[in-house]
Structure formats: structure tokens, C-alpha cells
Symmetry: C2
Subunit: 420 residues, 2 copies
């Protein structure tokens, strides 16, 4: 008997935690290595073909032939899986790394549910007609190197080897160096089109990162799209001066312009039904008794469509410049990243929704590996209800019954995709 | 001939600068040592008795007897100066350390003007009836160890040796360790009442740190008082969450409360004729895509009297709590420091103003060594006009003619005090 959902959850919960402060499972660290060892052990314990691909993503394969003889271990293979020629493999999974002080569910719920769904299919005696795998994508959160979804981006060719080699952590260690120190050969990293070509569908189960399901009777929903989103750096250039001696009328205080922009961002987003957040700010010189010379604030904004997003950001920028003119503060705005709208493959999405029968179909503002891969192959997502709505923080939560409903829904979907 | 004001200024300007970014002359660093060596050389070159006191403050003394024979070098002494029994010494000076990326004038103008005024008195053939000294107080800005006026506080017994031993810089080096590394015996630090008892008056010349003189015909002013001032830490506790997925209505975003408080501080200060500044802010977790769990902002506020200051801070706190209630954000306020009103000795102040004839008499919001010492002995301050009004930044400036007027005014005042 493989370990139950609850047993897997308890084992994984013990790895990379920091007391009450949540998890710090950053890519290619010791905590990440513990999680990766756990994944490999789960694969091997189930007799799945385990492998690590060139970009450090972990795969656990169940082949077509094995489904009829569930108790024969498949052993390890360094190949892409049992069926090199297949083009219709069905893959589920997510990631095991975390944001700083992150919650337990974002990522791990999809991986644990993937193994549990495979166990359920086996218990059901489901006869696979296509290869089935659970995947753990490397470095999804980007907490260490600043770029999200590195493992899936590399595989999909959306991040080149040269770009990846320039990524550095806060200590100046490059991604390839970090991979090498973790025992992974960085010479191999790069696009992996043959591997992705063998996959016919990728379904990622994820904790909901909001409260759209919380007030419904549905423990599970299906993703419709990932909102377009981006990051904009606002530089507010004022005049550094002495906080104790400079008359208010003589000041050019960029903190005032920043504060006005923070409030404008909330208001403009609310009026447009969009999201806007300032979660990071840097001040120069940053002394208690010094009027800042420079305040730098980062805007994260997202909306249902790109036109709305552009309009909201323009309005926020306009409010910043208006106030800057009054404050004697020059405002510079730089778009640091932008991700267009991702619409999940409608055929796959509709098939999931039909199989699950009338569950909510919801958009999200968060990026995921399923979003990255959607440009290359049909992908879909299932959400599990989160009563707190909290994400990327220790209060992130799903009830045990809802997790079980998620596993059942995932098993239903995988059975539908892999057994027909 | 001792070096002229301009020659001294050029020599000193070359020390501890960082290209166009201003000066980084932090206490007990290599840049500070260069400035201190310059001070000792100025003292010795003029035949003044040079000494460093137990707290690292530097003194250059001219005794009564020497004033009649200006060309005889006095040599070095380790004593407190030429007249151990005197209780009426007249002292001028300021400090040579700087804030991060500070200007050239804050501190050095008072030291250079002190030497130049002594030269002028000698040129005038003034006959001293009291000992006269130039002082360089150690660590006035507090840029390295976080507490201002350490040298004068220690001497005046306002900072104990034990408290001083607990001061640490950003690298964890304690003040005594830093002093020892700079070649100064930290065993000796502590109150110096006998030294201060020998001083009858301390007059500090300083660049004006605002524009009160800028629009007048007066290059020089006299200080009336130092406004009461303090620092308050505002902790805004919200709920960390995902910036891309959390609905606006579900957020408890402390950045909004902080922004409202910044704007309220400006408004309340303006209405009360006070000053209020947020120049430092820290955010947890500080990720671009994370709604903050905690925003911490530091308020610097100052006013003409303590009642007004208390009222302004209460109003700002009230605005923070009102908005916090709307945002679901808990607000905690901690007073981290407070300095009561300093009124300069009225007799000395009036004597300076009378000697200089109708110059403006002005309060300031900035702390100074003269403010610390005012609790122990009669102190006064002269300000030199600053057309930019900028202070603690590279744009800090005084015109050459105004610096010369400052030296003349200081010489007039010192002559009045030391020759009668």
C-alpha cells in the first residue's frame, strides 16, 4: 500500500519549514533537495519510472503496459518515460518550491494530489491507454533567482540557456552554479521540445489563491484563463534634505508622491475591476531624519484583459505624474515584466468541466507552469477551495474534505483523459 | 602665515568624498581619521596646544599668555589646555563627520571658521584675557552607530559608558571596538565634568539647514532655540497574501494605511506649523507580488514647542488608526526617541545678537553639540546663509562671501567674549 494522502502530506510538511513562519523551500537549496528526495522516494515506492530531466524537473511515469500489472516495479530509467514514441501522454503535477515564508499548499497540493490520484486510479482498476506521469517542476516561485517558472520556461524554450546563466541569487550565485552545487549537471539545461511533444495534456491541480470558491458549494473549480499581468517600477526623484530643518514649502519629498500613487493604484484598480499592489519599496538614503532623494516602488497589476490592464496602469501613472508635478518630484516608470493573457485550451477545459459536472470555471491572476506550457501543449488547471483565500503565506489552507474532493476530481479527469 | 579659509576648505574637501555622491565621513573610519589628522595638523601648524580628550573629541587651545606673542609655538600638551584653573575659557568649533552622502558644510564650516577666526583675532592683534579653543566633536551625526552627538553626550554625562558600549554599527562592531581600532583607548570614555567646568561659553557656527536667511539681506543669524523633536515607529500589521489572486475586498493591505499616514503627517504638520517626515520604511515580506504582512514606517516630527509636537503626533496617529480600521490593519506606535526643547542661554544669545547688530534670531529643528552642552554650560550658535536650503546632501552650500561674513562674525563674537 503506498502512503495515503494524509501520510504524504505529513511527510512533506516536515521539510523546509521555519516554525510558524511558513516554508522557505527555495530552488536548489537543502530544503529543496529534501523535497526532491521525497518526490523520488514516492515515485520509487510506487514502482513508477523516475527521472530528472535536463532542466531539473522531476518525473514519475506509469506506462500503459504497467497498468495491467500494478505490483511490478518499473525500476528507474533515464529515458523520457516508458513510451518514447507516445505523443499522447497525460501529465499532472505542480511544484514543491515555495515563496519566502510561504504556505504548505501552493505547489505541494498538486504534487501530492497527483500521486494520490494515481493510487486511486489503480484502486479503481482503471486500464490506462496512455502513459501517465506526475511532475515536479523546478523553481516555479522564482523566490531565489527572481524569475518564476524557470523549469517549465526552460523546457518550453521561453527562457534560453544564456538567459538562465545570467540569473543570480542574493548572494551572487548563478542558477547554473546553484544547480551544480545541488548535484545537477547545468551543462544540459535548455529547451526540451521532444519531451513536451510526447505530452498530450497537462492538468495542474492547485490551491485556490483567492476566495471565489469559498462562498460556493463547490470544493473544486476549473481554470478559464490566467489574467495578463506585469510589474512596473516607479522611480520618484525628489531632493534629499534634512527632515528637521527644511521648511515644508521648500521640500521636494518623493515619499508624498509615492503615497499618493499607492492610494491611486487601489482606487483605479477598484473602478476597473482589476488588481494593483505595491508590495516592495526602496528609499534613498533611507534615514529617519532625511527627506528621501529617491523612492522606488514596484507596482504589480493584473486585469481580465490586456486593454483594461494597460488603461489601469496608465491611470496610475497619470496620478503619479500629477502629484509629482505638485511635489516637485520627477516620476519615471519602467515596465520590468509583462505576461500576456493565457487562455487555457478550450477543448481540454470544457472536457474537464463536463466530466466534473457544473463546477465553477474561473480565471486567476497568478502565473503557473500550466500557463507557461499552454503555449506549447493543451493544459488545464483544477482549483481546490481555500476558505481563507490567503496564499503565499502560512494561513494558506484547504480543508481535508476539500483536498479529498480535489484528488477524486483529478482522478476522474485523468481517467477520462488516459483511459479513453 | 597659517593657511587661509580657502586653503583649509580645499584641503578638507578632498577627504572622505565619494565623487558626486557627497561625503561619507563616518565616525572612527579611515575617512574620519583623515579629517582628524587634518585637524591636528591645523592645530600644530598654528602653534596651538593640541589634545584629544577621553571621548575622542579634539581640542586646539590658545592660552592667555600666548596672545601677546603670536609667533611662539606652544607645542603639544596632553593637558586640558594651557589654563587648568580657568573657568571662563571660550570655545568654538563643530564636527567633521558626515551623514551618508552628506554635504561639505554641515560641521566642517564651523571647524574651519573657528581656525580662521583665531587667525583673524591674531591679525587684529586682539589681546585674549581668557583661553580660547577650537573643538572637533567626535561622531556628531551618528551615521555609523545610530545615535547623534556621541562625543558631546559622553562628555556631558548624557550618555553613559555602558550605554556607549552597547552601540553597534551595521557590521556589529561596537563603538569602543571602533575607537580602539582607530587607535583611541576606549577604556577612558565617560563623563568629563572638569573639562566642561573650565569652559565659560561655547559658540558653534553652522551652515543654515533651511532657507530662513536665504531671502533676507543677512548672511549670518543667531540661534534662539532647538525645536523639540522625536522619532516614532509606526507598525502597520495587515495580512500577507498573493498580489495576483486576492480580491481587493478580501485584502488587509498595510501599505494603504501607511500611504494614508504619510499624507496625513504632511497635512497635520502644515496646519500646525510643524515638521513631519517619513524617510524610512521597511516592508515584510517585501515581494513585488506579495501584499505586505507588515509595513513599518518611521516618523520624524518637530515643532516650536512640545505641546504642538505632541498634538501633531497624536493627530497623525489618529489618522493612521482611522484608516487602519477601514483597511483591517492594526496600528502600533512606539516613541523611539525624544529630545525636549533647547533654549540657548539668553544672556549669551543676546550678547551675540547685540555684538552683530540686528541679525535675525532663529530657531532650528536640528540637534547639535551646542544643544547637548546647553544643559551644562552657556552655549550659542551662529548660522551662515544657505541659498539652496539643502542640508545632509551634496547640494548643501554657502557662498564664499557669506562664509567670510561668518568668519568675521565669529571673530567679533569671540573677541567680545575672550578679550573683555
Amino acid at each position: 500500500m503506498p502512503p495515503s494522502f494524509q501520510e504524504m502530506w505529513r511527510e512533506l510538511a516536515a521539510l523546509g519549514g521555519h516554525a510558524d513562519d511558513g516554508y522557505r523551500r527555495f530552488a536548489w537549496t537543502a530544503a529543496d533537495a529534501d523535497c526532491r528526495a521525497w518526490f523520488a522516494a514516492q515515485a520509487r515506492g510506487r514502482g513508477l519510472a523516475y527521472e530528472t530531466d535536463r532542466n531539473g524537473n522531476q518525473w514519475a511515469w506509469r506506462g500503459v503496459s504497467e497498468s495491467a500489472s500494478p505490483d511490478r516495479p518499473a525500476g528507474e530509467r533515464r529515458s523520457a518515460g516508458p513510451d518514447q514514441a507516445a505523443t499522447d501522454a497525460v501529465v499532472t503535477g505542480s511544484h514543491l518550491d515555495s515563496v519566502p515564508d510561504g504556505g504548505a499548499y501552493d505547489g505541494p497540493l498538486g504534487v501530492v494530489s497527483g500521486f494520490a490520484a494515481l493510487d486511486e486510479l489503480r484502486a479503481r482498476g482503471a486500464r490506462l491507454r496512455k502513459p501517465l506521469a506526475v511532475v515536479n517542476f523546478a523553481d516555479e516561485e522564482g523566490a531565489r533567482f527572481g524569475l518564476a517558472c524557470v523549469g517549465s520556461r526552460l523546457a518550453a524554450g521561453q527562457l534560453s540557456r544564456e538567459q538562465a546563466a545570467r540569473l543570480r541569487d542574493a548572494d551572487g550565485i548563478t542558477l547554473p552554479d546553484a544547480m551544480a552545487r545541488a548535484g545537477h549537471d547545468p551543462e544540459a539545461i535548455g529547451p526540451d521540445p521532444e519531451r513536451l511533444a510526447r505530452i498530450g495534456a497537462f492538468v495542474e491541480l492547485h490551491i485556490e489563491q483567492g476566495r471565489a470558491l469559498a462562498d460556493t458549494a463547490h470544493p473544486v473549480g476549473v481554470a478559464s484563463a490566467i489574467w495578463p499581468h506585469g510589474r512596473w517600477r516607479f522611480d520618484f526623484h525628489g531632493e534629499g534634505n534634512h527632515a528637521g530643518t527644511t521648511r515644508l514649502d521648500d521640500r521636494r519629498d518623493p515619499m508624498l508622491t509615492y503615497a499618493t500613487t499607492v492610494l491611486a493604484a487601489r482606487k483605479k484598480a477598484r473602478l476597473a475591476g482589476a488588481l494593483a499592489t505595491f508590495g516592495k519599496v526602496a528609499v534613498q538614503p533611507g534615514g529617519v531624519n532625511a527627506i528621501p532623494a529617491l523612492v522606488r516602488g514596484w507596482l504589480d497589476s493584473r486585469a481580465a484583459d490586456e486593454e483594461t490592464l494597460s488603461r489601469v496602469v496608465e491611470q496610475i501613472e497619470g496620478a503619479a505624474r500629477d502629484r509629482g508635478a505638485r511635489d516637485g518630484v520627477r516620476v519615471g516608470v519602467t515596465r520590468e515584466s509583462f505576461t500576456p493573457l493565457v487562455e487555457f485550451a478550450s477543448g481540454l477545459r470544457d472536457r474537464l468541466a463536463a466530466r466534473l459536472g457544473g463546477v465553477p470555471v474561473l480565471p486567476t491572476g497568478a502565473g503557473h507552469d500550466a500557463g507557461i506550457l499552454s503555449a506549447t501543449l493543451p493544459t488545464a488547471m483544477l482549483y481546490v477551495r481555500n476558505p481563507t483565500g490567503v496564499s503565499h503565506a502560512p494561513a494558506e489552507y484547504a480543508a481535508e474534505d476539500d483536498c479529498a474532493a480535489g484528488v477524486t476530481a483529478l482522478a476522474d479527469v485523468l481517467e477520462d483523459l488516459a483511459c479513453h
